[in-house]
Structure formats: C-alpha cells, structure tokens
Symmetry: C4
Subunit: 256 residues, 4 copies
Amino acid sequence: MKMQKLNGYTLITYKDLTLRNGVLVQGLPGIGLVGKIAVDYIVSSLNLEKVAEIIGPGIMLPSGNVGVYVTNEGWLQLPSYKFYVYNGSERDILFLTSEVQPATWAQHEVAERVLDLFVSMGGREVVGVCGTAVEEPEARVYYALASGTVIDKLEALGARRSGGGTITGACGLLPALASLRGLDAFVLMGSTQTSEPNFIAAKEVITALSKLYGLNVNLEEIEKVIAKIKEKEEEALRIAETAKQKEGEQFPSWYV
Amino acid sequence: MKMQKLNGYTLITYKDLTLRNGVLVQGLPGIGLVGKIAVDYIVSSLNLEKVAEIIGPGIMLPSGNVGVYVTNEGWLQLPSYKFYVYNGSERDILFLTSEVQPATWAQHEVAERVLDLFVSMGGREVVGVCGTAVEEPEARVYYALASGTVIDKLEALGARRSGGGTITGACGLLPALASLRGLDAFVLMGSTQTSEPNFIAAKEVITALSKLYGLNVNLEEIEKVIAKIKEKEEEALRIAETAKQKEGEQFPSWYV
Amino acid sequence: MKMQKLNGYTLITYKDLTLRNGVLVQGLPGIGLVGKIAVDYIVSSLNLEKVAEIIGPGIMLPSGNVGVYVTNEGWLQLPSYKFYVYNGSERDILFLTSEVQPATWAQHEVAERVLDLFVSMGGREVVGVCGTAVEEPEARVYYALASGTVIDKLEALGARRSGGGTITGACGLLPALASLRGLDAFVLMGSTQTSEPNFIAAKEVITALSKLYGLNVNLEEIEKVIAKIKEKEEEALRIAETAKQKEGEQFPSWYV
Amino acid sequence: MKMQKLNGYTLITYKDLTLRNGVLVQGLPGIGLVGKIAVDYIVSSLNLEKVAEIIGPGIMLPSGNVGVYVTNEGWLQLPSYKFYVYNGSERDILFLTSEVQPATWAQHEVAERVLDLFVSMGGREVVGVCGTAVEEPEARVYYALASGTVIDKLEALGARRSGGGTITGACGLLPALASLRGLDAFVLMGSTQTSEPNFIAAKEVITALSKLYGLNVNLEEIEKVIAKIKEKEEEALRIAETAKQKEGEQFPSWYV
C-alpha cells in the first residue's frame, strides 16, 4: 500500500500499474443507477482486483454529511473512488466506481485527480457510463462524443448517437476533461424510463462494453435479477387486476 | 490548441494572439439577456473566430449542477467562457460570452483569470455589457464608469450616465477589477422593462458598441426578430381585444 | 496607489503608512448598526483620509451576490474594507469600516489579511466596536477582553464588563485573532434594545473611543439625528394617542 | 505559547510535548453528546493540563456563524479544538474535545491537521468516542475498527462489535484517516436511545477507556448527575401519574 497526497485528496495504491493502451470506464451513481450497476457487475463477475482508491473532502456520504461507513463486520470504510483492473489480451481496462458522486464544488478537482492518475499509468481512452432518461420503453445504448476518433467503433457497435441535452455529474465531465488532454473519450448511456435502478439498461451497457473491449462477462446473474423483477411486477399487476375485478363484483361500473 | 492550468481553471488557446490596443467586451447572461444577445449577435454577424476558452469548477450548467452539454450532433461541450477576436482597422476587440455566469464563490477568480489573459495579450480597455431594469418604456443605453479616461467618448456617444444602484454579477465586477490594474473600463447597459430576453435593448447596445469601435454590424437579422416579436405581441393584443368584445356581446358591461 | 495580492484578496494602498503605537478600530454592519455608525461618524466628523482598501471574493454586496455599487454620479465601486487614518498627538489610529461583513467562509481569511496589514504598519492594539442586544432601555458601553493588558483603562473609562454569551461576526473575531499575535485587543459594545439603527448607542461608543484615544469629535450632528428620531417617535405616539381618543369618542371602552 | 500556521489554521502550543507510545482520544459533540461528555469528564476529573489548541475557519460557533464566545468573566474565546495530556505509567494520552464539530467542508482538513500534530508528537493510536443510536434501553459500548491490530484488546474489554451503518462527522473520520497513516485506530460508541445528553452512555465509555488505558477516573460526580436525572424523571412520572388520577376524579374514563 502506497499513499500520495494530491491537493487535499489521498491516493491509495495497492498495486503499481502500467496499463497497456489503457481504458478507463467510470460508472458512478446516477439516473437509474445504470452506470454503477454496469461497472459493479463487471467487477464482480470478472472478479477484478482493487488496485487503487481516492479519498478526500469532496467524496462524502450520500447524505451529504462527511463520515464513514461501518461494514456488517464492524470495519470503518471511507467513501471513496475505487479502481479495479482488467488485463485484456490487447489492452488493459481500469474500472472506476464509488458509493457517491463527488460534491458539486469538488467535481472538477476529483475528475482532474482521476485523470492525473490514469494518464500516469499510461491511459489513452476514457468512457463515462450512465443512464439517460427517455420516453421510449425499450432500453437502448446511446453515445455522446468528446473526441472524434471513436465514432467508427461506436457506430459499428450499433449504439445510437445522442441528441441534444445535458449530462449532469461526473459521467459527462470526465470524458470532456479527458479529451482536453488529448485522450479518446466518450459517454455510453443506457436509456431508462424510470429513475429506479434499471438492470435492463445496465445489461445493455455491459453488453456494449463487452463488445467494445472484448470482455467475457457472464450475464446469467443480471438476467436472473431482471427476471425476478419482471416476475414481481407481473404479480403486482395480477393482484391489481384481481382487486379491480373484485371491485367489479361489488360495484357495477356505472356506479363509479 | 494549447492548454494552460490557471489556479484550477484551464485556458484553451486555439490561436496565439497579440491585440493591438486591445478591447475586451464581455456579455454574459443577465437581466433581459441584453449583454449576451448583443455579444452573440456581433460574433455571429461578423463571423468572428473563436480564439480561446476557459473552463473550470466555477463555470457550471445554468441549473447549478456540474456537467456538460450534448449538442444536437451528440458532442459533449463543457460550459465555458468563449473568446472571439475582431481585428479592427486600428484596434483589436476580444468578445467574451458564455452560457452562464460563474458561481458566486468563483466570480472573483474567474474575472481575475480573464484579466490575466487579456492583459497578457496586450489588452487596454474593458467593457461589461448587460441590461438594467428601468420603468421607462424606451430602450436606452446607460453607462457606468470604472475609470475616468472614457467619459468623453461615452458622452460623445450620447449614452446616459447611470444613476445610483448596484450591478450584480460579472458585468460590473470585471470592469471594476480591470480599472485596479490601470485599464480603461466601463459598463454599457441597455435599459429594459422586463426580464424577458430584450432584443430591442440588445440592438441599442450593439449600435453603441459599433459606434465606439467602428464595427460594421448588419442589424437586419435582429430587426427581423424584433419585428416578429412585435407582430406576435400585436396579434396577442388583437385576440385579447376580440375576446373582450365577444364577452361584451354576451355580458353588458354593467353586468361585470 | 499601490496594489498587492494577498491570497486572492487585493490590498490597495493610497498612502504608505507607519503607525506610531498604532490602534485599529473596526466598525462593520451588525446589531443596531452601532459599530458602523460610530466609525463612519468619526471618520466623517474628523474628515479622515482613506489610506487603504481591501477587496476580494468574500467581500460581497449585502444581498450575498457578487457585484458592484454604482454611485449617484455613475461610478462603479467594489464593496470593500476601507481604512482611514487619524494622527493623534501620541498614537495613530486606523479606522476600518465597510458596507458589509465578509461572507461566513471568508471571515477568518479577511481578518488575517487585516491583521497582516495592520501589524506591518506598526499596529499594537485592536478594538472591535459593535452593538449588543440587551433588555435594559438605557444605552451603555460594555467591553469584552481578548488580552488582559487593557482592563485598567477600560475600567477607568467606566465601561461595564460584558457577561457571558457570543459575539457573531468580525467584531469579536478580529480582536480574538489579534490577541493571538500578541496585540492588545478588546471589544466595545453599545447596548441596544432594537435591531434598528441605534444612534444613541453609537454616540455612547463614540464618546468612549474619544476618551480612550483623545479624539475630539463634535457630537452635534449625531445629537441632531437623535433629536429628530425622538421627535418623530413622539409625533407617532401623539398620533396613536389621538387615534385612540377618537376611537374612544365613537366606541365606549366596554364596547371593545 | 507558540503559534504555527497550518493551511489557514493556527496551532497554539502551550507546552512542547513528546508522547510515549501516544494515544489520541477524540470526543466531540454528537449523538447524545456521549463523546464530548466522556472526554470532558475525564479531563476535568483527572485535572488534565491544556497543551494545545487549533483554531481556524472551519471551527465556528454551533449556530454555524463565525464568531467568539464571551465567558461569564467577559473574556473572548474562539471556538477551538482543545488538547489535554495525561501522562500514564506506560503511555501518554492526548484528549481532544471542542464546543463544535468542524463545518462539513472543513472536516477533512481539520482531521488532517490533528493527525499531523499527533504524529509529530509521537502518536501511535487514535480513538474516536461518540454515541450510537440504538433501540435497546441499556447503554452498552460498541466498537468499530479502522485497523486490525486492536481487535484483541477490544474483545477482551467486553465491547460489542458494531453492525453495519454509517458514522457521521469526525468520530469515524479521524480513526479512518489515522489508519491510512499506519496508526492503530478505532471507534468506541456508547449506545443511546435518545439524542438528549446521555450521561449513562458516557459513563460506559469512560469506564471502557479507563480499562483500556489504565485511567483512574473517579465516577462519583457523573453518578450523582445520573442519579439526579433519574430522580427528576421519576418525579415527572409521579406528577404525570397524579395528574392522570386527578383527571380520573373529574372525568370518568369513558368520558374521554
């Protein structure tokens, strides 16, 4: 374990890394939790090793308070940016997730510290993954560009180009700042109708990332979760339907 | 493209510039959008080249969130201070606009970074343009002084001297800080009765700037916009009038 | 005019100063405006020269917005800390006032910049003057101590020792920080029943300062203001009384 | 008295210290005031000497305003972090308390300054003491771990391992940051059902600390306070009971 001070932040390195043609994939809490679910699932499914953490004043509890988590085993844990590495056959991918987005006033400084770290390891390409609110029911993958060099592979992937709007938080900020450093950079968004955790949209993002970077992620677990949620929703529908019919028994429809 | 770090802000220079007897004209969002409309119109009408941008923590989305814009073509764009250059026959003018005013806590540091840049290019004179709320219906141009050296030309212009009050935001702050560096500095304000985007007041400011700095700005487009708005307002009035008359048909006036 | 950068603040010096056994008297807006009225009155009455100003991010418009004042003559004026000098027969006094208190997050850094300046000029003693809310109707002068060296002269003055409580804002902070630098330091408070501008309490503070430092302040003007306010209050009372009597004519008292 | 500037904070040292195998015990205001009562009681009971203070922008009045206290004797007192030393037979303990928790944005920088100071004195072990909200009526001591080296002695103490959750504020943050510096670190929490000052929980914490570090703290005074509070509560209960019975005399129960 190595510790470095970075302008009020602390970088904890568990393993010295050089990335071959490195990619950074960042998935933090946000719309439909799409980005965080996607990255957490890949990390867990590929059993990736945690190689670094960043802690500091702008990375707080989700309540907005400064503080720490206590694990079920009674250990203190600072909210942090956590980095996991995947060594692919051709290039290495650094996955980044956290319990929280940085505080508003800290978004820029935290993003710059992440890029400092990533570039120092040999990073070349930055991807922000998150959700995007849409009206259409189907979950699809949209992309937005910070640099032109990635258009072809995103089009080849079958992702749709995003229309105009805004992306709040770190998902768009990190790639935008990365492109200013000459890195390839873009955003991948899973579309979602609700702000509830959306595992279907996350699965679409996982699939897209897998195609882009040759990941071999087993989707069984997330499909089970999706099936379970679908089942529950259908059961809730059936109950509501039955209730309606019972009401129908008691009150003729013109009565309402 | 050249990048420089400035106390947490990033200056992106697309073109190295030396300004001959340089003027800086800043028009940001504010009362009646007068300043921003004026500068945007001049930049677009004279087809000026973007020469620099400043991004950083205090320049956020208008919602107060950190984040990025996505253009209709799917490109990420950081909210930023954007600089455009006009090479006049005698002196060069740097126009500055943005989608937003800096956050309150960042107004001073952003203004100081702008002045650092401007002075390093050979700048001499700073103008803040914006709207000012008045009760009179006519749009007029008012000025307020940060340095005495500019009185004569502003009086010659036919602008009115502002009475007492306050100017919030960057419009007054930038010239005030500029005068402390020994630059000539003042504010030009287009008077507006409403806080709605006021194109008439903006046109007055454009005309004043054109006279002051020998700009040759074609006003046709802004006049079309003004005419269109006037037409719509008149139509709305006609509809309201007709509605009143119809009411009159149904209910005699003493009935109300 | 000389300009110096101090950690994001700017010190503007109009005149180089060395203070003989220097005293700093700070009176900013606060309870009953007592401190500000007292210092403004002394500065105006003794016609003191402005020798320095401090401007910067924590010194904002009273609205909490960043911005500038426009004088009735159309000049931009940054809200600022303003320093005026009085050359006494034995020691020199620097009076400090402003349109505002610094923002909460800036109180410490602004106070430290003030002390840096004051100590560099040869300052020895710091006085915060302000109001204190009491229930008693009479305006009296209370003192609170940051250093023990000044007790005797404050007791000799006839001021009362303050009881326990808190002093919010710069009035107590500046002397407390000053005493940590080894300066003599205390607070003088004029007691007030209301939070309205209290000229009577301010006059008491002026009188106390005059005795302490041998100032020769003509109190005629402030006594006129006090008399005028008293007159208006009495007239308001008379009107209310008359109104009551008239009501008495119309409605017998048992009717209400 | 020695003063040192630490990134905007001021360290006031009344006595130069080297700690033998030093322990830092921090108890600040928080849930049930448990941590602050415990540390204040030990400091007062063992009559410990104040050896240092930290003041600065993030350490404000509890109201969230910047300002100072005035003691009953009329002395200004800055809110501060106060350090007291206990020289044990084998190791030295530094007790830390304050009137307040640092402002949210200052928690990290204040904690880092405390650790800088503590490490420079030869510190090895950091304990945060505070309250934890539980549903069970009995006051018990829970612990949470920042480093594994302390498990055995905490288990030997008979304290219970905390379950999962969060600890807001400095109580968990300080040990968590300490462990990153290689210090032994943990949290001791007295469980409380209410957010009112809980002297019973504080006594449990005092007892635990006494066992851990061989302190000889006389508990008589805190037991008197506890007995007094119990008495008052019982009296309040009796009054409520009597009132109920009287109501019973006037209104038969079915009437209500």
